[in-house]
């Protein structure tokens, strides 16, 4: 029963995202899912025997990590499309996804040590996954620093290339988790033999949290894209005004 339940749930997410095209409906759906997620995490999910209550950080920590990976994946795809199609819409997506990705990456880098402190006893261990997430953060902050200047196509193209190269770092993280399974916990989600290390209740809570975070991500993405596009339109408008010599 438990396998059928999670697959059905996962399938249900995608039409939901498609449904939320108009903003208000999207905001409402996101709000509901987020509340359901919180309720599940704190009430429904059993507290883990070994780690105690602090294990509950896992739900949001890992779901924001997955959203971060998804965001940087989107940056890579959007950059490729921008280089190929050269349309501003894709460039705006790349910029917005990168910015939201960095926000989630910061969240991961804050909640990670907070979860590690009580369990491993140290805030930070130079563990491959943590270090490479940190490197990812540095790369995409550099990406954003590159984009701070006003919009000009040459700079956007450089940023697009950096977006693609930056993404190469993400599979390295995946590889490092399997290869050097040192301090970092075994990949709790997908273990050998397909049985997840989580009880079914935990898995359900985790999936709801993940869904809530993805919805939140798309909502932020939509908002940020409209900001990027109106800023670009402003730039173009101001340029035309210069041409006509109104000033």
């Amino acid at each position: 029963m438990q396998k059928w339940w999670s697959i059905m749930f996962f399938l249900m997410i995608f039409p939901l995202i498609y449904l939320c095209i108009n903003r208000v409906f999207h905001a409402i759906v996101m709000y509901i899912t987020m509340n359901v997620a919180i309720m599940l995490v704190f009430i429904y999910a059993p507290t883990e025997k070994m780690q105690g209550i602090v294990q509950k950080i896992f739900y949001f920590h890992v779901s924001s990590a997955i959203t971060m990976f998804f965001a940087f994946f989107l940056v890579c795809v959007a950059s490729i499309m921008y280089l190929w199609k050269n349309s501003d819409w894709w460039d705006a997506i790349a910029l917005s996804a990168a910015e939201i990705g960095v926000v989630f990456c910061t969240l991961v880098l804050i909640t990670g040590p907070l979860w590690a402190r009580p369990i491993w006893g140290t805030w930070w261990s130079w563990d491959p996954t943590l270090t490479l997430t940190l490197v990812l953060w540095l790369i995409y902050v550099a990406y954003l620093m590159l984009r701070i200047e006003t919009y000009d196509p040459k700079r956007a193209r450089f940023a697009a290339v950096l977006g693609i190269i930056g993404f190469v770092d993400v599979p390295l993280i995946r590889w490092s988790v399997e290869k050097w399974r040192t301090l970092h916990p075994k990949p709790v989600l997908i273990q050998e033999g397909g049985t997840t290390g989580l009880t079914s209740a935990m898995l359900l809570t985790f999936l709801v949290c993940l869904g809530a975070f993805l919805l939140l991500f798309f909502y932020l993405l939509r908002e940020r894209i409209s900001v990027a596009q109106s800023r670009h339109a402003l730039e173009v408008l101001r340029h035309d005004i210069d041409e006509i010599g109104v000033g």
Partner: protein
Amino acid sequence: MYKNSNSFITLMSGSKIFLQQVRALLAKDLKTEWRTREIFTSMFVFAVLVVVVFNFAIGADTELIRQVASGVIWIALSFASVLGFQRTGQMESEEDSLQGILLALHDRSALFIAKMLAQMLYLLILVLCILPLCGIWFRIDFMTCIGELCATFTLGMLGLSIIGTFFGMIALRTRACEVMLPMLFLPVSIPLTIAAVQATTQLIDGKSLRDIADYLVLIGIFDIVFFFLVIIVFDYIVEE
């Protein structure tokens, strides 16, 4: 030498116009920086980058990193301050506004003092942000000797901002500004870096203020000597 002695006197007497101009310059710098926060973020990200790269370079064994920690922090700070001086210099030369300021300046060392104070503020905030991060990454507890650390870092940052602003102005006028500044700034700041790193390492190992007193005195002398040296020489480097 006739012209410089009067800039010396105005500084000492702290005439009203002089302080007013320093305040106006400082207000302008901080307002521009607050609006875009470009200089501070680039300095902060660069310092984090240097610390992380050093960590990779030194490898994972914790004992070795603890000894090297203060050296890494000071190197990160001086490189970040080089970046900071370049950005402030660049901001002045964007629309040649340095000429506009020179025209309005009653006494040119006001420009130096204002720039130095602004840079000092950025560096101090940078230290406040970097220390906790380094505490986490190097697993060093800075809280035990926080008082002495503040003293060392304030004196060190004062020294860095004095020579940095001075060389920043020089590099601004030369053609290869990006290369000149680090080449001029880093060698001159060697005594400061040596004393500061020694002082910080001993502080981390739990020594008290008395043990590192001579280092602090060395940094103090370094600051004072360079401060007055620059005040005297400043008119010449800004002249066209």
